[in-house]
């Protein structure tokens, strides 16, 4: 006849045991707490930083899908206007009507010699449809002096770095020279309408934004563009939009089209697209480290409580019950540490998410290709997930001391 199953209040016992040595419990919990806080903040920071990089690249370089004439990218060092998209403006209008497309923007990107106040240097000429670009390139947000150029007028928004080097300010004139679509020399004399700061050194030291029509006139590109950037209504649907754009441009660009999604356009973009898997390894290692602390402190606890486990075994407590008790004790401590850590991590993430972390000083030195202010992005999933993972990691780590406690022989344990 089997003995009836006893109801052991494991969780309550685990909770009570956790209080028996506050210092040890605090030490164990603090390891989980630090790990949980690091996971919440770290994930929020990485999400914010990667989002910043992706957003910057999407807006300024790649779109979600970018259309260029075949061969333009291979000659990106010279940005040759003769490899432009004839009728690029009309093409952009058609692409904007595709399902799932939020916007399609014709842009001109070319090298220019910029002459002003007696000095000259190389610059990056950007011909933009300033009305369409308000939510994408966001020139308004970069404005630090003056105003935006007006379409139809020979005016430029000039990066403050290149403006400083040329010795020009708002109201001054600049002369731009560049190679036209016929590969001859084109020029444009513009008034500096405003100064811009993107926070990205390489842009601020080179960019000259002029209305699209002015860049077209300078480079003999009437109605044309050197690229069309397509933005999906939902960034996660970029692959669907890619297929639609590929279909839509087929046969429309002489010499062939190069249509690429953002993650196909650079090593960095490919790296970003695979960043989740890489970061999962980092978070896993962090939890493993906290688990090792839990193993250590709980082993100490088990050693100290050898007589107690011997007594419990002598009173008929099964080995499985001992394992469960110790594991749940670890899980309770893990949950405590995880909750406090998640709260701390959340507070830090939310605070810095509102103020931003400004890396301007470093970005100037390192010429980072993204906005220098990173806004960590907090999510419920990170906070609750780190509590759950902390609980799980501590519980799993407690298996090692639990098995040791379960192997104790009652008589031997009572003699110690």
């Amino acid at each position: 006849m089997s003995e009836p199953r006893r109801r052991v209040p494991f969780l309550r016992l685990a909770w009570r045991n956790a209080h028996r040595s506050i210092r040890r419990t605090a030490l164990t919990a603090s390891a989980v707490m630090v790990a949980a806080a690091a996971v919440v903040f770290g994930r929020g920071y990485v999400r914010g930083a990667l989002g910043n990089i992706s957003d910057t690249f999407w807006r300024t370089e790649t779109g979600h899908v970018r259309v260029r004439r075949e061969g333009f990218t291979a000659r990106e060092r010279s940005l040759p206007a003769h490899l432009s998209i004839p009728g690029g403006v009309a093409l952009a209008r058609d692409l904007a009507r595709l399902p799932g497309v939020r916007a399609a923007l014709p842009r001109i990107r070319a090298f220019a010699l910029v002459d002003g106040a007696g000095a000259n240097r190389g610059g990056l000429l950007l011909g933009l449809d300033l009305a369409l670009e308000a939510d994408f390139w966001r020139p308004q947000g970069m404005l630090v002096a003056g105003r935006l150029p007006v379409p139809g007028r020979a005016e430029a928004l000039v990066g403050e770095g290149i403006a400083r080097k040329l010795g020009v300010g708002v109201g001054d004139s600049l002369t731009l020279l560049g190679q036209t679509s016929f590969r001859s020399l084109g020029g444009l004399r513009v008034a500096v309408a405003g100064l811009a700061r993107s926070g990205m050194t390489f842009l601020d030291n080179a960019m000259l934004i002029v209305p699209l029509d002015q860049a077209q006139a300078m480079l003999d590109l009437a109605g044309g563009a050197t690229e069309v950037l397509v933005f999906a209504a939902d960034a996660d649907q970029a692959d669907v939009v890619l297929a639609r754009v590929q279909e839509a441009v087929r046969g429309r660009i002489p010499g062939g089209a190069e249509v690429k999604a953002w993650w196909q356009q650079s090593q960095l973009m490919r790296l970003l697209a695979s960043s989740d898997a890489m970061m999962a390894i980092v978070w896993g290692l962090l939890l493993l480290m906290s688990g090792l602390v839990v193993v250590n402190t709980m082993l100490m606890a088990v050693m100290e409580r050898t007589r107690e486990f011997g007594t419990q075994a002598a009173l008929g407590m099964r080995r499985g019950d001992v394992v469960r008790l110790v594991v749940e004790e670890g899980a309770v401590i893990g949950a405590l540490g995880g909750a406090v850590g998640a709260a701390i991590g959340s507070a830090i993430t939310l605070f810095l998410g509102s103020t931003g972390i400004d890396f301007s000083a470093y970005s100037r030195a390192m010429a980072l290709p993204f906005s220098p202010v990173v806004y960590p992005a907090w999510t419920w999933v990170d906070a609750l997930g780190s509590v759950a993972l902390g609980t799980l990691a501590a519980g799993l780590a407690a298996l090692v001391p639990a098995r040791r406690a379960a192997r104790l022989q009652p008589a031997e344990a009572l003699r110690t």
Binding site: R75, L113, D115, G118, N120, R121, G122, T175, L177, Q179, T180, F182, R183, S184, L185, G186, G187, L188, R189, D220
Partner: protein, 254 residues
């Protein structure tokens, strides 16, 4: 400066004494350079030339221009065709160069980064066109060997710059030892990397000089193109307007 030198920036250009001087066997490398330099000192010249840029995809772009030169330091050049390039002008005074485009309406001095850009999209750079080194004063030379090019006896000289900031710290020139005209040239960076190769042909006698009327240049760093400069007409000893080599003239036209 001749049109050849103006547009091409050909340093080893050209011209040699019509009289046969000391025999080639007796000439030192330095004397060869001095002869080339001596031939560059043309009092005045007026010329018309064609610049053809050949693209790898099979296209050619042809531009024509006229040039006025005084000595080696003053040059004025104006494109006459095609229509979209007509009126583009260049003024060179010593090592300084200015460009004027009609639709910009203002002259711009070409310096820094722009000097390395292709002159009107050709393989000649603006630096080639503006730099005017004295071969004997700016380069040390050694005779590497004797050779033949297109059936003509040549002396191959290796040149090393004697002052910094020259576009080409090292050169190798194949000099026709009968007409004292360069027939081939290689231009190198300080690292020894080949930057440009030039071939000179259609050598004609003009008064007491020999000139190559055709130069083919290949910029090794610009793989899409090669360029041919063909002199259509060259007149020496012409009288020039007094103010032709001025910024005012550059911006105001002839």
């Amino acid at each position: 400066m001749t049109v050849i030198r103006t547009a091409a920036g050909v340093v080893a250009v050209v011209a040699a004494l019509s009289w046969v001087g000391p025999s080639a066997a007796q000439v030192t490398a330095r004397e060869v350079l001095e002869r080339l330099d001596a031939n560059m000192t043309i009092r005045t010249a007026r010329s018309r030339a064609e610049l053809v840029v050949h693209y790898r995809d099979g296209d050619d772009r042809t531009m024509t221009f006229e040039s006025w030169d005084r000595g080696t330091d003053q040059s004025f050049l104006e494109f006459t065709a095609p229509e979209r390039d007509a009126g583009s002008r260049f003024l060179r005074l010593g090592d300084a160069m200015w460009i004027f485009l009609p639709r910009v309406g203002k002259s711009v001095r070409i310096q820094g980064h722009m000097l390395r850009q292709g002159f009107m999209g050709s393989d000649f750079s603006y630096g080639d066109a503006s730099e005017n080194p004295s071969m004997a004063a700016d380069y040390d030379a050694v005779i590497e060997r004797r050779d033949t090019v297109e059936g003509r006896q040549v002396m191959v000289l290796a040149l090393t710059a004697r002052r910094p900031n020259l576009s080409y710290p090292r050169r190798r020139v194949w000099v026709d030892v009968e007409r004292w005209v360069p027939l081939r040239e290689e231009r190198f960076a300080a690292s020894g990397r080949l930057l440009k190769t030039a071939a000179f042909s259609d050598v004609r006698r003009l008064a007491d000089r020999w000139y190559p009327f055709r130069i083919e240049l290949d910029d090794a760093l610009q793989t899409e193109t090669t360029t041919t400069l063909r002199v259509l007409e060259l007149r020496l000893g012409v009288s020039l307007p007094a103010d032709i080599f001025t910024l005012r003239h550059l911006e105001g036209g002839r």
